[in-house]
C-alpha cells in the first residue's frame, strides 16, 4: 500500500503543475482546473489508507470534518454571485492557511520530538499560515462589507512591526527549545500571529484587497509547503511551494496591472500621504 500511496502523491503533484500550466491560457483554462481536481481527489483518497493513522474515532472525525467543511464550501461556492468571487477566494484561502497552522499546532501541542531544522520550519509554517488565516478573514470581511472602516492610527507601522517581532521571538524560542516549551507559550505565539494578520490588513483599503488576497494566497502556499516538509509529504511540499512562488509572481503582476508596487499597496496607507509620490 505504501508504494501505491507514493505513486498517488507523485501523480497528484504532476497533475497540479500540469493543471496550473493549462490554467494560464484562456483556451485551456477550464480543462486545467479539472486535471488539478483529479489530482486532489487521488491524493485525498489514498490518504485514508496511509499507514500510521489510528483510532476509529479519528477516522470518524476526519470523515465528519470533510463532509461538513466540504459541504458548506460547496454550497457557498455554488451560490455566491460572480461579483463576490474575490472575497470567497479570500475566505477559502484563509481556511487553507488555518489548516496549515493547525497541522503545526497538533505536532507542537503533542511536543513531538523533531530535529532542529524541522522544528524551526514547523514553527515558521505555523506563523505564516496563521497570519494568512487572520489576514484573509479580514480581507473577506472588508470585501463582504462586514468591516467598512479602514482603521489607521499614528505609528501603526511601528506597532505592527513590534507585534511581528515579538511573534518571531516567541517562535524562535519554541523552535529552538526542543520539547521544552510550555503550552502557554505556544498559545501566546499563535495569538500574536493572529493579531499581526489582522493588524496588517485593517489599514489597507478595499480596492487593494485583490492584491493582498493574492499575497496571502502565496503565503498559504508557502505554509503548506513547509508543513509538507514537517510531515514528509512530497505532494504537499511541491504543490505548496509551486503555489508560493506562482502566487508571489501573480501578486507582483496584479500590483503592476494597477500601476503600483507591492510595497506601495501594503504600506502606503500608513500615516499620511506618500502614496501619490511613490506611485509616480
Amino acid at each position: 500500500m505504501g508504494f501505491v500511496i507514493e505513486v498517488a502523491y507523485f501523480v497528484a503533484a504532476v497533475l497540479f503543475i500540469y493543471g496550473l500550466k493549462k490554467m494560464s491560457s484562456p483556451v485551456t483554462a477550464r480543462r486545467g482546473i479539472v486535471w488539478a481536481g483529479v489530482g486532489m481527489l487521488v491524493a485525498v483518497l489514498v490518504t485514508f489508507f496511509q499507514p500510521g493513522l489510528h483510532g476509529v474515532g479519528n477516522y470518524l472525525l476526519m470523515f465528519i470534518a470533510i463532509v461538513i467543511g466540504g459541504g458548506v464550501a460547496w454550497v457557498s461556492g455554488k451560490r455566491v454571485a460572480m461579483t463576490d468571487m474575490p472575497q470567497m477566494i479570500a475566505l477559502y484561502n484563509g481556511m487553507g492557511g488555518g489548516a496549515a497552522a493547525a497541522i503545526a499546532g497538533v505536532e507542537l501541542v503533542r511536543h513531538e520530538p523533531m530535529t532542529l531544522t524541522v522544528q524551526l520550519i514547523a514553527v515558521l509554517g505555523a506563523l505564516i499560515g496563521t497570519v494568512a488565516f487572520s489576514g484573509s478573514l479580514i480581507a473577506f470581511a472588508k470585501l463582504q462589507g462586514l468591516q467598512r472602516k479602514t482603521i489607521r492610527f499614528p505609528n501603526q507601522k511601528f506597532v505592527n512591526m513590534a507585534v511581528f517581532a515579538v511573534a518571531v521571538l516567541f517562535g524562535l524560542i519554541i523552535g529552538l527549545s526542543g520539547t521544552g516549551y510550555s503550552g502557554g507559550l505556544l498559545f501566546v505565539f499563535f495569538l500574536l500571529a493572529l493579531s499581526f494578520g489582522v493588524m496588517m490588513t485593517v489599514p489597507i483599503g478595499g480596492a487593494d484587497m485583490p492584491v493582498v488576497i493574492s499575497l496571502y494566497n502565496a503565503l498559504t502556499g508557502l505554509a503548506v509547503g513547509f508543513e509538507g516538509f514537517v510531515l514528509g509529504n512530497p505532494a504537499m511540499m511541491i504543490a505548496g511551494i509551486v503555489v508560493g512562488s506562482a502566487g508571489t509572481l501573480l501578486t507582483q503582476l496584479m500590483a503592476k496591472a494597477m500601476n503600483r508596487s507591492l510595497a506601495n499597496v501594503l504600506f502606503s496607507n500608513f500615516g499620511s500621504g506618500g502614496a501619490a509620490v511613490q506611485a509616480g
Binding site: 490554467m23 477550464r30 482546473i33 490518504t47 500510521g52 489548516a99 497541522i103 503533542r110 509547503g225 504543490a239
Partner: protein, 97 residues
C-alpha cells in the same frame, strides 16, 4: 522523511516551476489563476488528515478536526469557485473545448 538537501532541491525546483508556469499569463486570467492556485494549496487537506489521524489527546483531536474542516473548505470551495469562473471562458471563446 525527506532529508536535508533533497528537500532543498525539491523546494528550489518547485519554486522555479511555479514561477515559469505563471510567467506569461494574460491580465484577464489573474483572478481565476489566483483562485486556481488557491485550490491547489487545498492539498493541505492531506496533511490535516494525517495530523488528525496521529492525534492522541482530545486537544490534538480538536485542533486536527478544525484543521481538516478548514482544509476541506479550502479544497472544495477553491474548486467550485475556480470552475465557475473558468466556465465563463468556455462560453465566450470558441476555442474552449
Amino acid at each position: 522523511m525527506i532529508e536535508g538537501f533533497v528537500a532543498l532541491y525539491i523546494f528550489m525546483l518547485a519554486a522555479f516551476t511555479g514561477y515559469e508556469v505563471i510567467s506569461k499569463v494574460p491580465v484577464i486570467l489573474h483572478t481565476p489563476l489566483m483562485s486556481g492556485s488557491n485550490f491547489v494549496h487545498g492539498i493541505v487537506l492531506v496533511g490535516a488528515m494525517v495530523a488528525l489521524g496521529h492525534a492522541q489527546t482530545p486537544l490534538e483531536q480538536l485542533i486536527g478536526f478544525v484543521g481538516v474542516l478548514l482544509a476541506a473548505g479550502n479544497a472544495v470551495g477553491g474548486y467550485v469557485v475556480t470552475e465557475r469562473m473558468l466556465e465563463m471562458f468556455k462560453s465566450s471563446g470558441k476555442g474552449g473545448q
